[in-house]
Symmetry: C2
Subunit: 231 residues, 2 copies
């Protein structure tokens, strides 16, 4: 409560230009980083894209690492705003679980970040470089995995999913499908990968559902066979 008031007081009372510029920088930074990586996110390139001087831009962050960390936070905010929040408007349980996966796939497909999933790329880039950046990425991805796992648990608690399903196992599998779809799309431009991921996820949701023909999930595709032939 105090914090929000504090920030508004500062921004309106004092010159708001600094924070506004910083925000514009981070917006561009997220875009560059998702395509070129957090290391390819260069201060010079960033400054050029924003028609700023390197030094003027750099003054907003104490170091390159700080810039990377701030960029990660900005990407997390977008992720929460674009995926978590809308998915949580769905009813707790299987609908929410499905919507989490569905929206995630849509957000990669729709190109919210031009380089695919920001965190998948960042994780692959930094998984071998210890430090605060890697730690923060790992934390955020664990948040996501935990959100999936909790949605599975809640599905079971709501009596919508069989109880002998291991939530962590299912979360692992769903996350893997998303990584797989992202990988296939980024490397081959293969849009069909999203359909494959959705099919894999839905197949499992239906199989573990306690309600046969549940209206909690979208209706099954008609002839899966004929579609598979056309390739």
């Amino acid at each position: 409560m105090d914090i929000t008031r504090e920030t508004t007081t500062v921004t309106t009372g004092r010159r708001a230009q600094g924070e506004r510029t910083r925000q514009a920088i981070l917006e561009t930074a997220v875009d560059i980083a998702s395509a070129e990586g957090l290391e390819g996110l260069t201060i010079g390139r960033l400054a050029a894209r924003l028609s700023m001087s390197k030094s003027g831009l750099f003054a907003h962050f104490g170091s390159k690492e700080d810039l990377q960390l701030a960029t990660i936070e900005a990407a997390r905010a977008i992720f929460i705003h674009e995926i978590i929040r809308p998915a949580f408007e769905a009813e707790r349980g299987m609908p929410r679980l499905w919507k989490l996966c569905d929206i995630w796939l849509s957000y990669v497909q729709g190109g919210v970040f031009s380089g695919g999933c920001f965190f998948a790329a960042a994780a692959a880039e930094f998984d071998g470089r210890p430090g605060p950046v890697r730690d923060r990425i790992a934390e955020i991805m664990k948040e996501w995995l935990d959100t999936l796992r909790r949605a599975v648990v809640e599905s079971q608690e709501a009596g919508q999913m069989e109880r002998d399903v291991d939530p962590a196992q299912l979360a692992f599998e769903f996350n893997s499908f998303e990584l797989g779809a992202n990988w296939s799309f980024q490397l081959y431009g293969d849009k069909q990968a999203f359909a494959r991921a959705r099919e894999a996820i839905l197949e499992r949701l239906r199989r573990y559902s306690t309600l046969s023909g549940s209206s909690l999930l979208p209706p099954p595709k008609e002839k899966r066979r004929s579609r598979a032939r056309a390739r």
Copy 2:
């Protein structure tokens, strides 16, 4: 045979020295690249690790891109030697399909490359940078995906797997599990991820198997369970 003698004898000929050095360079290059990425694979660092001069090393390759491409080929050779070849010793059909997945997981777990799967890392790094390097990586990963898909088809032809399974779909799912396990292990050091991937793959193989309780696959539960707990 010759190689052991070669190392002891210096008089193998000046002309053979070049290729031998080149091979030693690539061996180290693959290791560095798997951990630091193909861009982090720096000529200076590589030369330092090998106690060579930058220029002397550089002379073996016309450009950095050539070095990257040569490193990719070296990694592919290792991949074929360590995974494809031993898996193809298994009987064509489900045993081979399973062994492909199983060995892949073992090879990441065993740390053949210190940065996890070389190609998963390279694909993530280059998926947004057009050029020969990216193209070659995409080709090689397609080879792998195709190997999986063909193993599925052969399982069906051998009458071991239900025919209404879409081979490309199953290959996508298995590849996703492998990417997921690699991701989880690299980011969290989570060895349990390999057990999860194996469980997911085996579950599907058993479900689609035409032979219930098939001896073509490892037996369910038992040791794998207790092993998964010990972490």
